[in-house]
């Protein structure tokens, strides 16, 4: 099977990538500022909802319902879309999806297409595949455009250029658009408007993702802010939408839950500026050809994992990234995947589906298990539980290592109170390594700890020794 392009070829493991990222003071500053801003704004947007917990529960349950009858709902969606003049395509993996989309572009004789920001197309590496087939894809979302013009990689689900600050963005625009522009966000937005305007007015094929698809009606929903989405969904003759098979909701009514959960969790707004909903083709309004490409690309394997499948509830809001203390320090590129942060740490390895891949296997360990991600997740994905579940898979795949031997020894020791007590006594001898009550240097792997922290000297007497002497 071809490798899943959800991870970038040649990416180092998480600790190696983090080593480099942590030393980038500009990146650290940019991330600290951006995540700090959005954390505060999200807390305010969620705080004014008195029924937030009930909405989260409903969101979780609707998505679980979808996952429990995904086959019938997908067939229903296909029927609804087809009945309204759309064409539905199915793709088992990235390669198949890319081949379908490229074929559709060629049918329209398109050499350039406009794109609405879409995680699904980033996941399958669509832009690169189109480029190789002679079709240039123009990203129209501001942050995606910044990444594309900067020959960069995305680092966030919602704002792929979050690692760039305003003056870096100005430099990219100056260099690639050939315009003089200040670093005021309003001026930068204006530059993007001017740069893309003609593309919107003249391009004949657009490619989008989908936030939701209503199985009952065949309606597709895209939430956005800038209006680039509306441009792509309205003006071209042909619209190709690429969507993960888990993006379904059963009925229209279910949207009332997600239209409340997603904007507040994502951009921290009561509602995002624009939400577009379309159903197949509408004569006289918008594209007259509509293709929906449904992709699996590792999702059905994820679905088969009873603990891991909850990752498929994800609505790509990125709230978990914004509150994650690891993400805030390392940035998104350290995860080596289009899905970074806590959700990326559980989704990426499952989509890759190979715990022998050292990069993917390192991701579930990129967390202190602090639980901030679970607390904010609008569909209540218990990310810490999935992380420990995937860690177990990674450990199993690795087989016998120095760590596994040490862990087995520790488990053997803890299994008996008397062995444990003997180990305590032996360990307390380490206090002779201490000076002034602290140990400042230990041999490997203890050196990983003492590189930045002291260790308290073990006491001369454990608590149980004291208890035995005084109370026993």
């Amino acid at each position: 099977m071809a490798r899943n392009p959800v991870t970038w070829l040649g990416s180092p493991t998480f600790p190696q990538a983090a080593h480099k990222a942590l030393a980038d003071t500009q990146l650290r500053q940019n991330l600290r500022k951006a995540t700090g801003t959005i954390r505060g704004r999200r807390a305010a947007a969620v705080g004014e909802m008195t029924d937030w917990e009930q909405l989260r529960v409903a969101g979780e349950q609707i998505k679980d319902d979808v996952l429990s009858r995904l086959d019938t709902l997908l067939v229903r969606l296909e029927e609804s879309v087809t009945a309204r003049g759309g064409v539905v395509h199915w793709a088992r993996d990235a390669e198949e999806a890319n081949r379908i989309v490229l074929g559709l572009c060629r049918e329209e004789n398109a050499t350039e297409v406009v794109k609405v920001k879409s995680m699904a197309t980033a996941e399958i590496g669509l832009n690169e595949a189109l480029e190789a087939g002679g079709v240039h894809a123009v990203e129209t979302d501001l942050a995606e455009l910044i990444v594309q013009l900067g020959d960069d990689r995305p680092s966030h689900i919602l704002v792929p250029a979050i690692h760039r600050n305003r003056s870096e963005i100005r430099e990219i625009f100056r260099r690639r658009m050939g315009v003089e522009v200040s670093d005021e966000p309003a001026d930068l937005a204006e530059a993007a408007r001017v740069y893309l305007r003609q593309k919107f007015l003249t391009t004949k094929v657009a490619i989008s993702g989908a936030n939701f698809a209503v199985a009952d009606t065949g309606s597709i929903v895209v939430l956005e802010s800038e209006g680039n989405g509306r441009m792509c969904l309205t003006l071209p003759d042909t619209l190709i939408t690429v969507m993960g098979i888990e993006k379904l909701v059963p009925t229209w009514q279910d949207l009332e839950v997600f239209l409340q959960l997603l904007p507040r969790s994502s951009t921290a707004e009561r509602m995002n500026p624009y939400t577009s909903v379309w159903t197949g083709v509408t004569p006289g309004d918008g594209p007259q050809k509509f293709h929906l490409v449904l992709i699996d690309n590792g999702r059905t394997a994820t679905l088969a994992d009873s603990v891991g499948r909850q990752a498929l509830r994800c609505i790509r809001c990125s709230a978990c990234l914004n509150v994650c203390p690891v993400y805030e320090r390392t940035g998104g590129q350290s995860y080596g995947s289009v899905y970074p942060g806590p959700i990326g740490a559980i989704l990426t390895p499952q989509l890759v589906g190979d715990m022998h891949d050292p990069q993917a296997a390192s991701l579930p360990f990129a967390s202190s298990l602090c639980g901030a991600c679970f607390e904010v997740c609008p569909v209540r994905i218990d990310i810490p539980s999935v992380l420990t579940h995937l860690r177990a898979e990674a450990v199993e795949a690795k087989g016998r290592t120095a760590e596994s031997v040490a862990m087995a020894a520790a488990a053997w020791m803890f299994a008996s109170a008397s062995r444990y007590e003997k180990a305590q006594k032996a360990g307390s001898l380490a206090r002779f390594l201490a000076r002034d009550g602290r140990i400042t240097s230990l041999p490997w792997p203890g050196s990983k700890w003492t590189s930045s922290r002291d260790v308290p000297a073990p006491p001369s007497e454990s608590f149980r020794a004291w208890w035995r002497k005084n109370r026993g």
Partner: protein, 237 residues
Amino acid sequence: MRVALFATCLTDTFFPSTARAVVRLLERLGCSVEFPLGQTCCGQMHFNTGYREHAKPLARKYTDVFRDYDHVVAPSGSCAGMVREIHPTLGESPPRTFELAEFLVDVLGVTDVGAWFPHRVTYHPTCHSLRMLGVGDKPLALLRAVKALDLVELPDASHCCGFGGTFAVKNAETSTAMLADKMTSVLSTGAEVLCAGDNSCLMHIGGGLSRLRAGVRPVHLAEILASTEEDPWRATP
């Protein structure tokens, strides 16, 4: 009330003064405290590092050791969380286990435990006590009732200190970056004592502060609450 103390392996081995403080405090509040010597470790390190199979017998052992007690108290939000939230997923029905602050406020129904601690203190709510157990403001309510204690708010208190068990060594650099920010917050308060309900996190932040020779001492909540005018807290070597 008959209470079993689950000291946790870390506190038993490295921080016996905390466990002695729990005994002193609970006895002062009228409890009869027992320490079943068969106890060892809740299995959290194994479970969280991906060694679920090794964690299972430890969870079983925990159930066996404490099954006859109505109340088990642990001076650790993390270990109490492991028992309450994770042990059931390993097939156990663990005995009722409480983190210390929860036990005091919810079971004994006290916030003023008669403590005296004449120091400037800041409190770090540890992640598992906050998000796994939901202890909320209970530790702060207990600290506010301590006589002579000058409680100062910790900025960004709910942010993780970067410990995370084996995360601290597997991703040592990221852990250190998180620690650096936590230490900055602690130092900004001007507190002389950093208090928390978990010795693991205190060992992490305290280890960083010690390396910096920052002059801030980590002290477990139990030791502050056990301290009285007659029998005040003393730094143990």
